[in-house]
């Protein structure tokens, strides 16, 4: 059974069809990528899977369970995590607290218990703190633990967002343009980080414009154009597909 599957997924914005009857399945294991020219529907697909948008038609299944009607937070609790194209960090929190928030689905979230300082919660707090520190180290941000997110540089925020997503120990990690806006060195770091994540057993789906990065990282690639599937396959297959080349050349996005 696929870890993630969408069937007949369609989404309209006003008169515009952003995603058109898309079928797509993500198997457990490797790194997947979704590419396509601007406006191809990549982020829309992510937002539909995450539950930010409601589909106009179609179904979304996680591990065979139909989640189409579930709100975002319930899907997250099933093991779906993501990063955002335009960074959505908690600016009012420190680096460490950002990551600790990622632990939410594994922690006792009772308000009453928290107020009364129940031992179980204090214990979870200590364990969570340790886990978050490990995760910060994993993405190489130990030094930023006590800095408020609003004071962090862009490259750091990118990695912090991944650490936060990892904290929820997702089955499926969706990364929306993880390399956008990064310089070559930083891109190298992100590349290594994604490999590390995948090696640790998390399935990764990423949307990315940087073809070098995608071709290097991904084992399977879905190509979207105008909300439709243009091609799907290994990097080599996709590279060889004439339709893909046409679509990219047509919009000036040479790979």
């Amino acid at each position: 059974m696929s870890l993630l599957e969408v069937r007949g997924l369609t989404r309209d914005f006003g008169g515009l069809r952003a995603l058109d009857d898309l079928g797509y399945a993500v198997a457990r294991g490797p790194i997947h990528a979704v590419i396509g020219p601007n406006g191809a529907g990549k982020t829309t697909l992510f937002n539909l899977i995450a539950g930010i948008y409601v589909p106009t038609a179609g179904r979304i299944l996680i591990d065979g369970q139909d989640v189409t009607a579930l709100p975002t937070w319930r899907r997250a609790r099933l093991g779906l995590a993501r990063s955002f194209q335009n960074l959505q960090l908690f600016e009012n929190m420190s680096g460490l607290d950002n990551v600790r928030t990622g632990l939410h689905r594994h922690e006792p979230a009772s308000l009453l218990g928290a107020m009364l300082a129940w031992p179980a919660i204090r214990r979870a707090e200590r364990a969570g703190r340790k886990r978050a520190e490990e995760l910060l180290a994993f993405v190489g941000l130990e030094a930023w633990a006590e800095v408020m997110a609003e004071a962090m540089p862009y490259g750091v925020l990118k990695r912090l967002e991944i650490a936060r997503a990892l904290a929820s120990e997702p089955r499926l990690l969706m990364l929306d343009e993880p390399a956008a806006g990064l310089n070559a060195t930083e891109k190298g770091e992100i590349d290594g980080l994604i490999r590390k994540v995948a090696a640790a057993g998390t399935t990764v789906v990423l949307v990315e414009h940087d073809m070098k990065l995608v071709m290097n990282l991904a084992e399977r690639i879905l190509v979207l154009d105008h909300g439709r599937r243009l091609a799907e396959g290994t990097p080599a297959e996709v590279r060889a597909d004439p339709a893909v080349a046409r679509a990219y050349l047509g919009t000036g996005h040479a790979a």
Partner: protein, 290 residues
């Protein structure tokens, strides 16, 4: 029928008053995304300043114009001295600043003009017009007429003039507006000045009907805020519709249900509208873009 007409006139008059105040809210919100809780005080200032100038022997028209200019100056000062220095503050901080401003303005008005209430003479007499068995004061027509003129004027300003378009551009995207060379500082000053002037004009127009004193701003401000929200913040037409909805609902509820809870009507409407339309009747519905 006569009874219905009477309620209708009352509702239209009150509605037009609320709409005038709401337009002031809308103007400032459009350019700066600040809700100015001192908006009602501009209405108060306009009315009281005119009363004061009249008492000092200035004829009505120059007194009214001078009062509008003075109030506009107060609006500009508010922007320059209080809003501008705190432009990066949180929404609620800005709310407290404008509330502070309204306390300050009320305190100043009470010192200058005392605590008595005053009346301005009606522009064209006090003889009520009789229409279908119901009566309407000529001053109500002034209020309704000027409201219509202002809405048309604002439409022209935003649609046809460069300055108006600059204000709109600032409202949509401040950074982009700055990049195309719009002087944001000036646009903000302008919209506060204009909004204060609008408030003052409202204050002068309604003083013959509602009388005026240093306390009239509070409730008029709240009702105006209500109207602006019902209409959907930032929409001029919405502000007018919102004002009329609130005014008419109050009058009809009083007339056909009960007057005991009349002053709650506006707020019940607010809750009902917002539960079903979280951005008001004409507000932009935003989707999070992530």
């Amino acid at each position: 029928m006569a009874e219905f007409l009477q309620f209708l006139f009352a509702g239209l008059t009150s509605g037009a008053i609320y709409a005038l105040v709401a337009l002031g809210f809308t103007l400032i919100y459009s350019s700066s995304h600040v809700i100015n809780f001192a908006q009602g005080e501009f209405v108060m200032l306009g009315g009281l300043a005119t009363v004061g100038l009249l008492a000092a022997g200035v004829p009505l028209l120059p007194a009214a114009l001078l009062a509008i200019v003075l109030t506009a100056a107060a609006g500009i000062a508010l922007e320059k001295l209080a809003i501008e220095p705190a432009r990066n503050a949180a929404v609620v901080t800005l709310i407290i600043i404008t509330i502070g401003a309204s306390i300050l303005l009320r305190g100043a008005a009470q010192l200058i003009w005392g605590k008595d209430y005053h009346r301005l003479p009606a522009f064209t007499g006090e003889t009520p017009l009789e229409i279908g068995g119901a009566t309407l004061l000529p001053q109500s027509l002034w209020v309704i007429g000027v409201t219509i003129l202002i809405v048309l004027g604002l439409r022209w300003f935003f649609g046809r003039t460069l300055l108006g378009k600059a204000v709109l551009a600032t409202s949509h995207n401040r950074l982009a507006a700055q990049l195309v060379g719009i002087d944001i500082g000036f646009v903000l000053l302008l919209s506060y000045g204009l909004s204060a002037a609008l408030g003052a004009l409202a204050g002068i127009l309604i003083a013959p009907i509602t009388l005026t004193s240093y306390t009239v701003g509070t409730m008029l401000g709240l009702k105006g805020f209500c109207a602006a929200i019902v209409g959907g913040l930032g929409s001029g037409a919405g502000a007018v519709v919102g004002g009329l909805v609130v005014g008419l609902a109050e009058a009809m509820a009083t007339g056909y249900v009960s007057s005991a809870y009349k002053d709650a009507v506006a707020f019940v409407i607010i809750l009902v509208v917002l539960v079903f339309m979280p951005s008001g009747l004409f507000g932009r519905r935003g989707t999070d873009r992530v």
